[in-house]
């Protein structure tokens, strides 16, 4: 593993499967980054090139988000999926950049919708440039994502990613409609998460497989199905952890404001579970603080205390582990090797993030 980091000659797959150290979540993401380093550099170049515009506000604002230290997890899924299938072309780089653009556009619009002020430890774009610019630059990045995909010229890929985009938007609207709605269930929660988060993870992994299949039509089609399912389950696990951390993380390690979901009366799983377990008095608390959105300064601490009493944060993490475990079994058909191992480790990482 150390060797992998100091010798970044990683243009081809390397056998580091036996050096698995899934106990350390940071190691998993660092290993994946190292493994796809050359590709990721190409993705970054593509991103910078496609952010270019004669309108100065566009690259300025886009750079703020794109360069603000995101993990680049979604584009890395595309890169690793393609490489795991033995792909040796360049289309996966453009698709990875398109995936990151879709994600970035979603973040810009999310922060406007949520009125967020902090993301990844930095002020959000809507705070610096205003909501208007965030809406419009989001539209620009979204359009650029489609231009990138069109340049790749594969209609199946376009189908998968345009479908993912409308499913994401549907998920965001669903989440908005479910705000303050204490009748939300595990099922409605999962539907939101599968749409707003897991759809892009699934598409990102699937299109990596698709470009490889196009190059080598002898590939087993169950690999594409498996990678899509992997992305989907990984995405759900990832969001479950995110939603648990919003009640249990520390702001410094999370890079966003702890308690945001609570303040926005979002019906994430911890709230769904806590309300389901609540007695009459606790139900009254949730009805006021979430159902009516009338909150005092001490309410967040009270919410966390109620959640701890009923063990719902641990339960949310347990759900996440189940999805991560499914994600790992989805990779059974994938050829053994460093890329497959890195994807397995990422599934472990998704549930072992700082908490």
């Amino acid at each position: 593993m150390e060797g992998t980091l100091t010798k970044p000659d990683l243009s081809g797959p390397r056998e580091i499967a036996n050096q698995n150290d899934a106990a350390s979540p940071d190691t998993a993401i660092v290993r994946l980054k190292a493994l796809v380093r050359a590709d990721l550099t190409a993705v970054n170049d593509e991103i910078v090139e496609r952010m270019a515009s004669h309108v100065p506000m566009i690259p300025a604002l886009a750079a703020h988000l794109v360069e603000s230290g995101g993990k680049r997890l979604r584009p890395m899924l595309t890169l690793a999926a393609a490489r795991a299938c033995g792909y040796d072309g360049a289309d996966h780089v453009r698709l990875a950049a398109a995936v990151e653009f879709i994600h970035t556009a979603t973040l810009l619009h999310d922060d406007v919708v949520d009125e967020s002020v902090l993301r990844r430890g930095s002020a959000t774009a809507n705070v610096i440039w205003g909501n208007q610019a965030s809406v419009l630059v989001g539209d620009f990045l979204f359009s650029r994502a489609f231009e990138l995909m069109v340049d790749v010229g594969d209609l199946k890929v376009l189908q998968v990613l345009s479908r993912a985009s409308s499913v994401i938007a549907e998920g965001e609207v669903m989440q908005l409609a479910a705000q303050k709605d204490l009748s939300s269930t595990l099922e409605t929660y999962l539907k939101v998460v599968e749409s707003k988060t897991a759809a892009l993870f699934a598409a990102a992994a699937q299109v990596g497989a698709l470009v490889a299949l196009r190059q080598d039509s002898g590939q087993a089609p169950e690999i594409e199905v498996g990678l899509r399912a992997y992305g989907r389950n990984l995405g759900v696990a990832y969001q479950l952890v995110d939603d648990a951390l919003d009640y249990s993380g520390r702001q410094a390690s999370l890079g966003k404001s702890v308690g945001d979901d609570f303040r926005e009366s979002k019906m994430t799983l911890p709230v769904v579970l806590a309300f389901a377990r609540a007695g009459d008095e606790e139900k009254a608390f949730w009805r006021r603080a979430i159902g009516e959105g009338r909150q005092t300064d001490s309410d967040f601490d009270e919410a966390v205390a109620l959640m701890e009493r009923h063990g719902v944060i641990a339960e949310t993490f347990a759900y996440a582990k189940r999805y991560a475990s499914r994600a790992k079994s989805d990779l059974e058909a994938l050829p053994d090797g460093a890329y497959r191992q890195a994807l397995l480790d990422i599934a472990d990482f998704s549930v072992a993030r700082a908490h």
Copy 2:
């Protein structure tokens, strides 16, 4: 003409060229609508089908905009362009629906950015459902537009429309950046208009030609170039008239709030020209009201008075007439017939709108 309206058997082109009555602007749009009636019904069906979602807020909000009496000018350009080239397939219907979705998504986001309260005489979606829903449903419609285009499966069409989308977003950002900027020139104004408005008109007409060319590769390629140029010049003319009407129209006939551009300190051509012609005292007025955005209740009337003094509204209409005239010459290569005549009349209509 009367016959055309009472006998709507208009699935094929009809020779009504000699019945041209360009002096009446309403007649031009009514004639085009009658000419493409069957296609337009199919477009509306496609729109309703593609707005469908298991998330109830989406069709509700989308229907509000889509059904709120828009002229459907952009999708009609696609339909008429395809038919004028002799196209007899069904792809132009899906592309026309995609064009309308892109336009509708842009309107939703525009109204959020501009904080508009009135469009086409109705309350805007952001007023009824809130900014959050408008942003997200706009994203949904935009994604659905791409799904529609992908279903048509023509990469050149996808290229033209995805490019148009990012140019529109660039134009919107440019307009935002130019707000309150009294150093804006005719040139910067035209660049904004060509991007935010004319790019979609151009793409709408061009993709109509493209599906026809695909069906009959014997078509002259200059027809595609001509239809694109027609759309572009028509779009500029259309926006110039819109911007003139914002200072000279009557609210009832315009269907939006007169004076919106002024209140938002938009640097439209009437302001650019009025500031260029202004003496020191008038310049001070524009600097306060537009440059600093500090306005009193009587300022809009004062602005209109200054514009009348310098004849800048008439001048803006004159610019529009020039673009409309260019649009008409762009149709020289197009085969003669009812569709070509309808497109010529629309160019006249664009500059003869209620004022």
